[in-house]
Amino acid sequence: MLILFFIAPAALCLVCLAFRRRVVNRIALLGFALAYAAGAVLVLIGPAFFLLPEELRRYFDFDSLGKLFLLTLAAVNLGVSGYSLFYLANVNLSREKDTLYTISMLLFLVSMTGGILSSHLGLLWVFVEATTLTGGMLISVERGKQALEAVWKYIFICSIGVALSFIGVIVLSLGSKSIGSLFFADLYAGAGAINPFLLKLAFAFILVGFGTKMGLAPVHAWLPDTHSEAPSPVSALLSGALLNVAGVGLVRFHPIMTGAGLEPFAGTLLLVMGFLSLLVSAAYILSSENYKRMLAYSSIENMGIVAIGLGLGGPGLFAALLHMVVHSFAKSGLFLTTGNIHRLAGSKQISDAGALLNRDRKTAWLWILGFVAIAGLPPFGAFFSKYFLVGAMVSRGLAWLAVPLFLLLAIVAFGMGKSVFGMAWGRYRPRGERDFVPEGAAPAAAGRRLSVWAYLPPAFFLVLLLGLGLFIPDFVTRLITDARNAFVAVGR
């Protein structure tokens, strides 16, 4: 399995570099996405096959958490790769760039997979750092002033953040001398023996560092810039997968705090960051004029929800994990849809992208349903993560937190809904019988047809979300519950 997840993409990169042909790139991208998904399913249903020495295997852990996010990542990647067909066909990159895009995509995927599966704090950190680098390459595929600025902010701020989290790792290793290992399993087992003072310090650094990658306020500031400037499939990957990687890091780290009896401290910090994130996104989503930025703020909001769930611990962890999965799908779908909208409207301004229902019905419905999913309305999955989150608040005796939560969520929903529906709806001017032309739409844009690859991937995500909303499949529940129980048990 590890060969499939790590060696194969590296080999594919070399192949792509060797050929530098568009066809090869496409085959590599799509083929690997399928293989990856198949691998993830295989890992789920059977034991992972290893052909590697024990020494190396120790560093990767196919536990429930790993399986859950491996599956999520596989699904997101499948959709994004499919959409890349449409995207690449449209932007017409040079052959070199095309190859660069493919390679970066593969490497980005590798680094994220590593981050999800690492069972070692140091290795986790390395992979998180690697995502910064590979992600940066991916964002800057389409050159342009704005993209450049976005990449600069992404790499520079994230690098400093990750550097800070490295200080956290060092401080932790200082405090856990008696354990002498950075494997999570060992850290959990010996959590009680870690110097609590240094552990708190380490957690602070790691929280800020991983929080930066995860997009938690107040270290979120790079996120709107980057997500709005990246190409749509990349935005989808950044928002739908990358944020999870840092989130998984925090999920894995959190039990150490619980084990050391520092849960109140860690929980409070996470709650503070979570609510700050909600606040920031509420403040900006209301006045957002760029639909991709709007989605980026929504990502901050959702990561805030995840942080709140983590901070609550116990049942909150369940909500957080479910929300991470659901957010991945919903946000990937939405970001992919922005690609369609951008293609139709030729602009990222909300004001330019009106009357979608009359321009392209399918895109408009994907857009609307995506919003419905992300806003936590049934029949999509986020409804339940919200429900469980409030349940966690109540069971922790913090029911009053629901007041600011819902107030901020309502503001976000209003700000986002206003823009989303403002774009979907619009006036039509009858021209002849039963024939509308959207007002303000360029005639050329009205006639533009998008390929099936533009609709299929977002629709795929919506189907997944619908599945999670109508009934959460048994294996997903089991995975989440197992993951939760594992970490809660460690905390006891």
Binding site: Y59, H120, G122, L123, W125, V126, E129, A130, T132, L133, G136, S140, R143, K145, Q146, L148, E149, A150, V151, W152, K153, I155, F156, S159, I160, V162, A163, F166, I167, V169, I170, S173, L174, G175, K177, G180, L182, N195, L198, P224, D225, S228, E229, Y284, S287, S288, R293
Partner: protein
């Protein structure tokens, strides 16, 4: 000996604040790389051979030679000479960095009781280098300086990991190397491209994306 080297390392940061010449910064980078190399060598006893070789190679090869060399090249080519108008006046930043240095000593003093197997002075100095590096990022306006500041932070972290005498796994060292790559990547790819795209080498140019 570790302590002496650490103090020297810290002192170099003072020079950074005293000068506004970019090339001066780069020389300091090279010097710090060399000093870190020396530190690795002097701490030989507590590490495995493999690790010492790896760390030494990284300090000497990457930190002392490769990065400064690439940067020299770049700076010459782009004719970036000095940091012209720092947000913080030179004099104040010098005072500030002295204070940070002093603060590092306080930390070392405090860190003596913190944990066994910790080189307190190196620990304190590394903190002060990290803080100074961040300060450099915050107070200067040239993109190049920002990257250099980031590398100072990395050097501080390198020193920090050395000061914690516990065995840092190989993996972690790999990560440090990766950080260095990031720096180079940032440098080479971006400062070139930004220069070309914006006709300017100051961070103010990169303020278009906002709400």
């Amino acid at each position: 000996m570790t302590d002496i080297l650490a103090v020297i390392l810290g002192t170099t940061m003072l020079y950074v604040y005293a000068t506004s010449r970019i090339e001066g910064y780069l020389k300091i980078l090279a010097l710090q790389g060399a000093l870190l190399f020396a530190l690795v060598l002097f701490d030989f006893a507590s590490r495995s051979v493999f690790e010492t070789v790896f760390l030494g190679a990284e300090a000497l090869g990457v930190k002392a030679i490769a990065i400064p060399a690439i940067l020299f090249n770049l700076v010459r080519k782009n004719e970036v000479r000095r940091e012209i108008e720092p947000s913080l006046p030179q004099f104040f930043s010098l005072i500030l960095s002295s204070l940070v240095f002093a603060f590092g000593f306080i930390i070392s003093f405090w860190a003596r009781r913190l944990a066994a197997g910790l080189a307190p002075l190196a620990f304190g100095v590394s903190i002060s280098i990290i803080v100074s590096g961040l300060l450099l990022v915050m107070s200067r306006k040239k993109i190049v300086t920002h990257i250099i500041g980031y590398i100072f932070v990395e050097n501080g972290i390198f020193l920090l990991s050395l000061s914690v005498a516990s065995e840092m796994p190989f993996i972690v060292n790999l990560g440090v190397l990766l950080d260095a790559f990031t720096a180079v990547y940032l440098f080479v790819v971006f400062s070139n491209r930004i220069q070309r795209a914006y006709d300017e080498d100051r961070i103010n140019a990169l303020q278009n994306l906002k709400d």
